[in-house]
Amino acid sequence: MGRKLLTEHINVEGIDTFEIYRKHGGYRSVEKALKTMTPDEVVEEVKKSGLRGRGGAGFPTGMKWSFLAKPEGVPRYLVCNADESEPGTFKDRQLMSKLPHLLVEGMITSSYALGANTSYIYIRGELLYVLRILEKAIAEAYAAGFLGKNILGSGYDLDLHVHPGGGAYICGEETALLESLEGKRGNPRNKPPFPAVQGLYARPTVVNNVESIAAVPVIVNDGGEEYAKIGVGRSTGTKLFSACGHLNKPGIYEIELGLPVEEFIYSDEYCGGIWKGRDLKAVVAGGSSVPILPKELILKTAAGEPRLMSYESLSDGGFVTGTMLGSGGFIAMDETTCIVRNTWSFSRFYHHESCGQCSPCREGTGWLEKVLHRLEHGHGHMEDIDLLVSVAKQIEGNTICPLGEAAAWPVAAAVRHFRDEFEWHVTHAKEAAQPGAVYQGVLVRA
C-alpha cells in the first residue's frame, strides 16, 4: 500500500469542516511558513521537492514560481486552475468536494510564497456545488484568522475568492482562463508575454492546478527533500489518477509515482481488472488528448520493460510506442470497444470545444470529426485514413494554444496503432456500423 500524502484523511467524517480538518493536522503549513520561513524559502522547498504541474503539462512547479516577475508596488496574483474538463479526469472535483480545506490551505501557503495578496480559484461552472463547498471552507478559514488581514499576526494579508466558469474546456488553458476570469470569452492569448509577467489584469500571475497546490502543504510540512524521496527519478511524490471506462473499480487513486501500470489495472487494491471478465484492448493513460496505446504497449514498453505510472516511463518510446502521463485521466477500454467510434467521440469533443480563434484548429477539428463520423457510419473511403493523419499534422504546431495538439494527437495515435480497424470500417462498412460487429474474432460493436 503506497503512502497517501493528499488523501490520507479523505474519508474522515466531517473532514470538510475547519475543526475536524485542523484536528488532523490541517493548516500546519500556514503556521510554519508564515511564522518561520521567508517566501523565498517556501519557493526553495517546492523547487527541491521536484513537484511537477499536475494539470497535464508536468512543468516543475517551483521553477514556474521562480519565473514570477516581482516589480515593486505592483500586485501579483495566484490563480488556481480548477477548470477540470479533460475527458477522463475527475480528480480535482473529488479533492475539492471532500477536502476543501486542503486546497484553501495550499492556496494560503502558496500565495504567501509568491507574495500575492489576492488569489482566485477558477472552478468550472458545472461544479457550482463544489464552489459552494469551497466558499464555506473559505469563510471558516477567515473566521479562524487564516485569511484576511494580518494572518496569525504575521503581517501578511490575503483574500481568497472562488470564481465559476461558464462551460468551456478551453478555459483550462491558462491564458484562456485568465481572459474568462476577466469576464471575457475564453480565447487563449498569444505568448509571450507569459502570465508570469502579464497575467490577470496584465499583472504578474501564476496559474497552478488544484492538485499541485494541494501538494504544497505536505512539501512545506515535511520538507522538499523528503517529498522528493517518494516516487521514481524525476517523477517525485504521489499523483492522483482518475480511473474510468471498462474497469471493475473506477475511481480516484492516489499512488506513489512509479507503480507498474499492470498492478494499477489488475490489482484489487486499485482498479480490480477489466469488467465483465473481458480482456483489455487499449488505454488512454493521461486524459483524452494523450495518445492511445494498445494493451501490449501500455503494460510493457517497446523494449519489453514493465510500463510504470511515471512521467518518464509513460512517455518512453515517444509518440511511436509511448504516450504521456498528462492529467492522470486513465481511460481503459475492453475488447468490445470500437476504436473508430471512440476516436470520433473525442474528435467531436475537440471540435465542440475549439474556441475558433485559429483556422487550423477551428477547421481542422471539424474535418477530423466529419471524416471520423463517415468512417464510423459506413460511408468512409480508404483515402480518408491518410486524410485524418494529414489533417492532424496540419493542426499540430500551428495554433496559439495546445488545444490543437490535444485534438490531433488522439487521432494520429488511433490510426498509428489501430489502422487495420479503420481499414476494416471501409472494407466492411455496412457490418462495422451494426451492433454485434465482429472483427478478428472480437466484438467491436456491443
Binding site: 477540470e84 474538463s85 479533460e86 475527458p87 477522463g88 479526469t89 475527475f90 480535482d92 472535483r93 482566485y120 468550472r124 461552472g125 458545472e126 461544479l127 457550482l128 456545488y129 459552494r132 466558499e135 483574500d159 475568492h161 470564481h163 465559476p164 466558469g165 461558464g166 462551460g167 468551456a168 474546456y169 474568462s180 476570469l181 476577466e182 469576464g183 471575457k184 470569452r185 475564453g186 489584469y201 482518475s242 480511473a243 474510468c244 471506462g245 471498462h246 473506477p250 475511481g251 480516484i252 488512454v284 483524452s288 485521466g329 481511460i331 477500454m333 470497444t337 467510434r341 471512440n342 467521440s345 473525442f346 467531436r348 469533443f349 465542440h352 470545444e353 474556441c355
Partner: protein
C-alpha cells in the same frame, strides 16, 4: 413562447449576492463578475437568459450589453432560449459513452418525450441537452440538473429515481443566499 415586455428585476437577495461577488474583484474590474452574475440570472429567471435579462446583467455590472451577449454565446451553460422546468444535461463524451451514455440518451428521449438538443417534453417538465465531459467519468453515465450531479445512471431504476425526484420538486433547491428556492419556471417562459 413569447418573452414578457416587462423589464425583469433581480430579487433583493440576488442583488445583495451580486454586490458581494462584484467586491471580489478590483473596483475597476467589475466586468470580472460577468460569469457568476450570469449564473445567478439563469437561476433567477427560469433557467435561461433572455436578451432582456442579459441587458439587466449588463446594467447591474456596469458594462455594455454586447459584452454580455458575446460571453453568453461563448459558454455552453447559458441557455439562450426558453427551457423546460428541468434541463437534463447528459454527458456524451468518450468515458460516458463507454459506460452507456448513448443508451441513456435514447432511454430519456423515450420516457420523457423530449428530443435531445431539441423540443422540451410535452408536459413542459424536461429539456434534454447533450454536453461534453462533466468531470465525473468514474461514475458514468452522468446527468447534471442545475447544481446537482446524478451519477451511475446505468439502470432504468436509477433513471426513474432521478425523474421522480425532479417531478416532485415544486421549487428549485434554494441557493445559499436565498431562504427558499424560486419556482422552477417563471411565467415568462
Amino acid at each position: 413562447m413569447e418573452t414578457t415586455s416587462v423589464k425583469p428585476q433581480f430579487s433583493e437577495a440576488a442583488k445583495a449576492e451580486i454586490e458581494r461577488i462584484c467586491k471580489q474583484y478590483p473596483p475597476e474590474r467589475r466586468k470580472s463578475a460577468l460569469l457568476p452574475v450570469l449564473h445567478i440570472a439563469q437561476a433567477e429567471f427560469g433557467g435561461w437568459v433572455s436578451p432582456e435579462v442579459q441587458d439587466l446583467v449588463a446594467e447591474v455590472i456596469g458594462i455594455k450589453p454586447i459584452e454580455v451577449y458575446e460571453v453568453s454565446s461563448f459558454y455552453t451553460m447559458f441557455n439562450l432560449k426558453p427551457v423546460g422546468k428541468h434541463v437534463l444535461e447528459i454527458c456524451r463524451t468518450g468515458p460516458c459513452m463507454l459506460r452507456g451514455s448513448d443508451e441513456l440518451t435514447a432511454h430519456l428521449e423515450r420516457i420523457t418525450g423530449a428530443k435531445v438538443n431539441g423540443a422540451t417534453s410535452p408536459d413542459g417538465l424536461f429539456t434534454l441537452k447533450e454536453v461534453e465531459c462533466l468531470a465525473a467519468c468514474g461514475f458514468a453515465p452522468i446527468v447534471q440538473v442545475r447544481e446537482k450531479y446524478y451519477e451511475q445512471l446505468d439502470t432504468p431504476a436509477a433513471v426513474d429515481a432521478m425523474l421522480t425526484e425532479l417531478r416532485n420538486q415544486v421549487h428549485r433547491p434554494a441557493l445559499p443566499w436565498e431562504e427558499t428556492g424560486l419556482p422552477n419556471a417563471l411565467a415568462n417562459n
